[in-house]
Symmetry: C2
Subunit: 188 residues, 2 copies
C-alpha cells in the first residue's frame, strides 16, 4: 500500500492523523515515535525523513550480496521466494487484525455489508486452498460480527485462536485485542 | 489462517497439493522443501513435524524475556505493538501478490466479479486511511485486470510499482512476477 499522503512526499512527516483528525497508527512509522509521546499522537514533532535512511541501509546490505542473488537487471531486488504457508498466514493475520482494529466503532449498514462481503470473498481467494476452506467453514458456523470495531476485532481474535488451537499454539487472550492491534501497550 | 488440512493435524506432512492435485506452494512450509526437489512438488517425502521444533525454539527464546515483556497471563505472547505503516504495507502486499498468483488462469465470470469486488472493498477497509485513498484512486483510474491469473498478477505488480515510485523505491520488473510470487527462482 502507499505509505504516504497524496501530497506529503516520502518523509512520513504528516502521517499521524487520519481524515477526522484522529491519530492514525497504521499511517505512521514507529521510527517517528521517538519524537512523540507514546502512541497517543500528542506532542508531535516531525521526524527526519525515513526513506533516505532506509535506502542507505538497504544499499549497504545489498552491496554485500553476490549478483546471482539479485533479480536480473536489478540492483535492489533480491530473488526472494514466494511466501510459504507460515509467512502468508502471518502476513494475512496482520492485515486482518489491523483491518478489524480500524473498522468503525459505529459502522453504517453499508459498511457492515461490505465487511461481511470482504471476509466472505477472502475465504474464496485466500491462496492456501486448505486454509481457505477452513476459514470458509468457520465463517459459515460463526458469522463475522460486523456490528462494531470491538465486536469484529474480538471475532477476528477468536477466529485466529481457532487456528491456534488446531496448530497446537497457545490461545491469545482476546481481552488484549485493543493493545495488540490498535493502541499499543504503553498504558497496559 | 489455518496452516493445515482439516484432517492432517499440524505436521504439514500433506500440504503440498491443492484440490486438483497440483502443487500448492502457499499450502507448504519451506522447511519441507529440503525433502523435495525444488518447488515442483516432485519426489515428495514427508518432513518431520514442524510444530514441535517451532514450539521448542519459541520456548527457548521466550525463556530469556522478562515477564514484563509478556502479555499478562501468557507465557508465550510478547507485548507486540500494532503494525506500523511499513509492517502493514509489507504484510498487505505479500497477501495481495499471493492472492493474485493463486487466482485462476481462466476465472469464471463469478470469480472475476468477486475479485473486482474484493479489491474495491479492500480500498475502503485498508487501515491506513491515506494509503487506502491512494489505492481507491488508483483502482478508479486503472481498473483491476481480473481476466486471468497473469493479467491480475501484472496489474498488482504495476499497482505496487506506482507506490514504489511515490516512495522513491526501485521499480520491480513485472516480467518476474511468477518467479517472485508463484513458482520461485529455481529455474531462473
Amino acid at each position: 500500500m502507499s505509505n504516504e499522503t497524496p501530497d506529503q512526499g516520502v518523509t512520513f512527516k504528516s502521517l499521524l492523523f487520519n481524515e477526522n483528525g484522529k491519530f492514525c497508527l497504521p499511517c505512521t512509522l514507529y521510527k517517528s515515535f521517538q519524537y512523540i509521546s507514546g502512541t497517543t499522537g500528542k506532542s508531535v514533532t516531525s521526524p527526519a525523513p525515513i526513506q533516505e535512511e532506509t535506502i542507505s541501509k538497504q544499499s549497504t546490505a545489498l552491496s554485500t550480496l553476490p549478483s546471482s542473488d539479485l533479480i536480473p537487471g536489478s540492483r535492489t531486488y533480491v530473488k526472494e521466494d514466494p511466501p510459504d504457508v507460515n509467512k502468508l498466514g502471518s502476513a494475512s493475520w496482520t492485515f486482518l487484525h489491523a483491518v478489524a482494529a480500524k473498522y468503525p466503532e459505529k459502522p453504517t449498514p453499508f459498511q457492515q455489508e461490505e465487511m461481511s462481503d470482504f471476509l466472505n470473498i477472502f475465504s474464496h481467494v485466500y491462496p492456501c486452498f486448505w486454509c481457505a476452506k477452513d476459514f470458509e467453514k468457520y465463517i459459515k458456523e460463526n458469522a463475522p460480527n460486523v456490528k462494531s470495531q470491538e465486536e469484529l476485532s474480538i471475532w477476528m481474535c477468536q477466529a485466529h485462536n481457532k487456528v491456534n488451537k488446531k496448530l497446537g499454539k497457545a490461545q491469545f487472550n482476546c481481552d488484549f485485542w485493543k493493545a495488540r492491534w490498535k493502541d499499543g501497550w504503553d498504558e497496559q
